[in-house]
């Protein structure tokens, strides 16, 4: 027994010594490499210094320093987001510049400028005069162009407005405080009050907003299936008759009789078919029961109760 273990130890030692000698070998080669490279590096550095000296004489570095200063100004003035936005719209900018510098556009602008210079000779026109002028063909065409411009302007403004609102909406809550949305800015002074505070205690406001976002209650489950906060089945596929009975029991309906089941089956079938929960009117239509019956079966908020028991989402709509 002990002889065999001795043999094993010996083998391990041999393997170790082989590894050590490989390492030493590597180290030695690395040293040689440095030794040989040092003079070459020195030579290269000298050459590079000459080169740099030449560049300095030609003013490259001064230029670079100034460029860095300029870049610094740009970085301070614009955020990373601005630059990204610029990159995204560079094609648009170039297109605009090209469109503006087309010969015929320049000609129109030049004509307009000429007219302004000759403006002294134009006679003042009142309301009736301008109405009369709209009979001229040139004026009519001009109005059409103006309307097109206004249309494009309006469309652009609307898109920009929508984009701005979207950004505000997506911004973190702490930032949104600074820009009250149109809905909340009713002009009451107390609404603007919080804007003064958040800088003072950023940590606490963050915690408060996080708490405001947190659901007030833990999500409940019933018979192993998850419920939404309002008590509707989270996933209608999980529905079983046992879950229906459990939910009904919780809603104060002790026993589901045949007519309850008739309605529940009809609701589920309709939900599977249309993909949306039926309202009471549709429940009556698909189940063959009358509205009066449905109210009798589920005395308290029948639409919601029946939808809960049938395991479909909350019905939307007013009817």
């Amino acid at each position: 027994m002990s002889e065999r273990s001795d043999g094993a130890i010996e083998q391990k030692l041999e393997a170790l010594s082989a590894q050590v000698s490989t390492l030493v070998d590597h180290q030695r080669r690395r040293d040689e490499l440095f030794f040989e490279f040092a003079p070459i590096l020195k030579e290269m550095m000298a050459a590079a210094t000459d080169e740099l000296d030449e560049l300095d004489r030609r003013g490259y570095f001064k230029f670079g320093r100034e460029m860095l200063n300029a870049l610094d100004n740009v970085v301070q003035g614009y955020s990373a987001g601005d630059v990204a936005a610029l990159a995204a719209s560079i094609v648009g900018i170039l297109d605009t510049v090209r469109a503006l510098t087309q010969p015929h556009v320049l000609k129109v602008v030049a004509q307009a400028g000429e007219l302004v210079e000759r403006g002294d000779s134009a006679r003042p026109v009142g309301l009736l005069g301008s109405v009369r002028a709209t009979r001229e063909e040139d004026v009519q065409r001009g109005i059409a162009v103006m309307l097109d411009v206004l249309r494009a302007l309006g469309k652009g403004a609307e898109q920009a407005d929508r984009r701005a609102r979207m950004h505000r909406h997506l911004a973190p809550r702490s930032q949104r405080r600074g820009h009250p949305s149109p809905r909340t800015s009713t002009g009451k002074p107390e609404i603007t009050k919080p804007t003064a505070k958040p800088t003072a205690k950023p940590a606490t406001t963050g915690a408060v907003s996080a708490a405001a976002h947190a659901p007030p209650k833990e999500a409940r489950t019933i018979a192993g299936a998850a419920l939404t906060q309002e008590g509707f089945l989270a996933d209608s596929q999980q529905w079983t008759p046992a879950i229906a009975v459990a939910i009904a029991h919780e809603l104060g309906i002790a026993k589901l009789d045949d007519r309850h089941w008739q309605l529940v089956d009809a609701i589920r079938a309709d939900y599977d078919e249309t993909g949306s929960s039926p309202n009471i009117r549709r429940m009556a239509k698909v189940s063959g029961l009358s509205t009066r019956d449905i109210y009798a079966l589920f005395p308290n908020a029948p639409g919601k109760c029946a939808a809960k028991i049938a395991g479909v989402p909350k019905p939307v709509g007013c009817i």
């Binding site: 009471i280 009117r281 509205t291 009066r292 109210y295 005395p299 908020a301 009817i319």
Partner: protein
Amino acid sequence: MTERKVSLIVSKGGLDDAYPALILGNAARQSGIEASIFFTFYGLDVITQSKVDHLHVNLVGNATSPMPTMVAGLPGMENLAARMMSKRMEDLDLPGPREMLEILEESGVDLYGCELAMKMFDRARDDLVPQVRDVITAGDFFDISEGAQIVFT
């Protein structure tokens, strides 16, 4: 849930005056809230057999109407607007006023006519739709509405 109760008063007979009250009453019942609706003055048209299917949209004096008042006052305009709105509601699968009244009655909303308005417009009980539970006075209405939130639409 605490017992909630709501009483709605309809005093105008336009389609746009009737619908909000009818829908609110229905929504109340759907939410398990007791509801009653009191039809008075021109609101009586909403529960009058010969009128309920011909309710118009008020265009003149309606600041939100897209039609200029000068145009809205022309003969036939209200008819046209009512027809357009009815068409729109049909597309949305909204029931018409008469069907709404039927739904309301089945849902357990109590519909009441105003006694004074009945006398004023010279209408009899038979002129009203059968869904009306009773013709009562304003005082009766307040007795019935005890503990209710009263909404004047």
